[in-house]
């Protein structure tokens, strides 16, 4: 257990080793991931920050390769791996749903060297949820408000400060570096137990969705009649895919400027018609209904068939920020009823 002052000191200590990030409100009150300055603690308001933590593992954009774009030089247009290294990062105030998304994304990214390098470079300190929000449903997707998957340390917020639970070895050695801290009082231990026991009950009742959706027929779900109606209101803005922690699709493009070139990848969205457009003009998902269906089917059926769990952590960002109120929970219920 560290009281707030002790936690601050600890972060100050760690700032020598890491760049420190956490949820922080901007001048309009929107909480998002920002660098924390000395003495700043993560914003603890219930719910998740605007954007997901995929930004730390899957930066926007990420340089894959670099090359000289000066014709005539010997190595012109022959790409090589980028040499730049950046300081290790420590992210505090990570909600368990966000942390779990890293574990899920690691499944398709198994052989991706950039993703793994980022994982080695980023330490996650979680913040247990005292209560869910109206848009939260981690309990439907295999997660928990006090889950530890993907985290190095889980911090439980108690009145005086935080009770730290190390999860990984590297988390344990960081907790050790904090020193003995304060002894938790009986009241604080009670608070901790209350978070553990009561937080899940503030959320929708736990469901084992992945096996239930896995056993449904692929084409039965694909041909379900509700897709058309659902997609009618979608405006293909892509907000859901950009805010979603488990939307990991990307585009690769080359850019050159003043004799230097790089190949970058950046977030792409299956909501956009260009995503699947062939050079011939043919588009296999040219219609909106096909794109809307693809996004949900990928999360709830295709991904589970390949990897087991849903590609969704129930953070509720897509529900919170969809401009036309499309709700993945309703889609799940429709699929279960199909």
């Amino acid at each position: 257990m560290l009281d707030k002052a002790g936690f601050e000191d600890w972060l100050r200590e760690l700032a020598g080793q890491f760049e420190i990030f956490g949820p922080k409100a901007n001048d309009r009150g929107i909480v998002n991931w920002q660098k924390l300055n000395e003495g700043e603690l993560p914003d603890e308001r219930p719910g998740v920050p605007k954007g997901s933590i995929k930004t730390f593992f899957f930066p926007q954009p990420e340089t894959l390769l670099e090359f000289s774009a000066r014709p005539g030089t010997e190595d012109a247009f022959i790409p090589h791996e980028p040499g730049t290294e950046h300081k290790p990062r420590l992210v505090v105030g990570v909600r368990p749903c966000d942390a779990r998304s890293v574990v899920l994304n690691a499944m398709p990214y198994e052989d991706d060297p950039y993703f793994h390098k980022n994982r080695q470079n980023v330490v996650l300190i979680g913040l247990a949820c005292r209560q869910g929000c109206s848009t939260c449903f981690c309990t439907w997707t295999g997660g928990s408000p006090v889950g530890t998957e993907g985290l190095d340390i889980l911090a439980y917020p108690v009145s005086r400060g935080y009770v730290l639970e190390p999860v990984t070895e590297r988390g344990a050695s960081l907790v050790e570096s904090a020193g003995p801290g304060n002894d938790a009082t009986g009241a604080e231990l009670k608070e901790l137990e209350e978070i553990r026991s009561k937080a899940p009950s503030s959320l929708p009742e736990t469901m084992e969705l992945a096996p239930r959706l896995r056993e449904k027929g692929l084409m039965d779900l694909y041909n379900a009649p509700f897709w058309q109606q659902l997609s009618d209101s979608c405006i293909n803005c892509g907000t859901c895919t950009f805010l979603c922690p488990t939307c990991y699709c990307f585009d690769i493009q080359d850019e050159t400027l003043r004799g230097k070139g790089r190949r970058i990848r950046y977030w792409d969205s299956c909501m956009f018609p260009l995503f699947t457009l062939h050079a011939s003009g043919h588009n296999p998902r040219g219609e909106k209904v096909k794109r809307v269906r693809n996004r949900f089917m990928h999360k709830l059926k295709y991904f589970p068939e390949r990897f087991g769990p849903l590609s969704c952590v129930g953070c509720g960002r897509c529900v919170r920020d969809c401009p036309v109120n499309i709700d993945i929970r309703q889609v799940i219920n429709e699929l279960l009823a199909t």
Partner: protein, 277 residues
């Protein structure tokens, strides 16, 4: 190993294949000897051709793994990268990332079978690789029948090789063009029509079909009429791709990735998938 880093290569030769100049075959040689020596692919696989500053494109490998020392890619000029490639000259640097995908099961399911290759237009490229491979290992296969068609005689690929194949007596080759053309003495008619006339026997046989979707659609009924089933028919799908590794999400057809699980699927497999290709 970084799967996004292409092998450096050079353009060793360029052949203009078709009368419209839109299809060229590029012969590429990997720059490093160890990479050249360790390269191995299965006919039907593809690679990403990488032009730094322009981007990458997935292209089927038109050469057989038995043709050592170089790789062939027949490329239709269509988008940004292929247009840039068509403007390049012999000796210029290029990158190759691969081989990617699964390829035709030439050393497993297809071994010992009678093989029927049906191709239309410029989809012949990986089937050329397959045919060359089978001819190099001729004893491993039964009868080999080829039906290949293009719009006009000038749009046929690999014209010199087609002549050589027609002269072989261990190969049954039917080359056709869509309509009569001056100087053309060969078959005239669409590929499905010619396939219907050839009536290949389905007994202990497999068909490898590549071509425009409409050609595949009309080729199936005459085959089914003589007893072919969907699990004997191998197709090669294509979709827009970026990574070629099953990660970036662009090429999925329902739960499968064309780049990683394909591009070769049996028709029986394709029939169980949404039509998103």
């Amino acid at each position: 190993m970084n799967p996004y880093l292409p092998y450096p290569a050079r353009i060793d030769d360029i052949v203009i294949e078709t009368e419209d100049g839109n299809l060229k075959t590029f012969r590429l040689v990997l720059e490093k000897k160890d990479e050249r020596d360790s390269w191995n692919h299965v006919p039907g696989q593809f690679a990403m051709l990488s032009i730094a500053g322009k981007g990458e494109i997935p292209i089927g490998i038109a050469s057989s793994p038995t043709e050592q020392g170089h790789l062939l890619f027949t490329v239709n000029r269509a988008g940004v990268v292929t247009t840039a490639l068509h403007k390049m000259n012999v000796g210029e640097p290029i990158g190759v990332r691969g081989p990617l995908g699964n390829g035709f099961p030439v050393d497993t399911e297809l071994k010992g079978k009678n093989i029927v290759i049906i191709a239309g237009g410029f989809a012949f490229t990986t089937l050329r690789a397959t045919l060359i491979y089978m001819l190099e290992n001729r004893a491993d296969y039964g009868n080999i029948t080829v039906v290949y068609g293009a719009r006009t005689p000038g749009m046929l690929l690999y014209k010199d090789e087609l002549k050589q194949w027609q002269e072989r007596d261990d190969l049954d080759v039917h080359i056709t063009v869509d309509r009569e053309a001056p100087g053309w003495t060969g078959l005239v008619g669409f590929v499905p029509t010619i396939a219907g006339q050839v009536k290949p026997s389905p007994e202990n046989a497999a068909a490898l079909i590549c071509g425009p979707p409409i050609m595949i659609k009309f080729t199936m009924p005459p085959l089914e009429e003589v007893g072919w089933t969907d699990d004997q028919v191998y197709l090669s799908l294509e979709n827009r791709m970026k990574c070629g590794l099953g990660v970036c999400g662009h090429c999925n057809v329902g739960p499968v990735y064309v780049c990683k699980d394909g591009p070769v699927f049996t028709r029986a497999q394709v029939q169980k998938l949404p039509v998103e290709f």
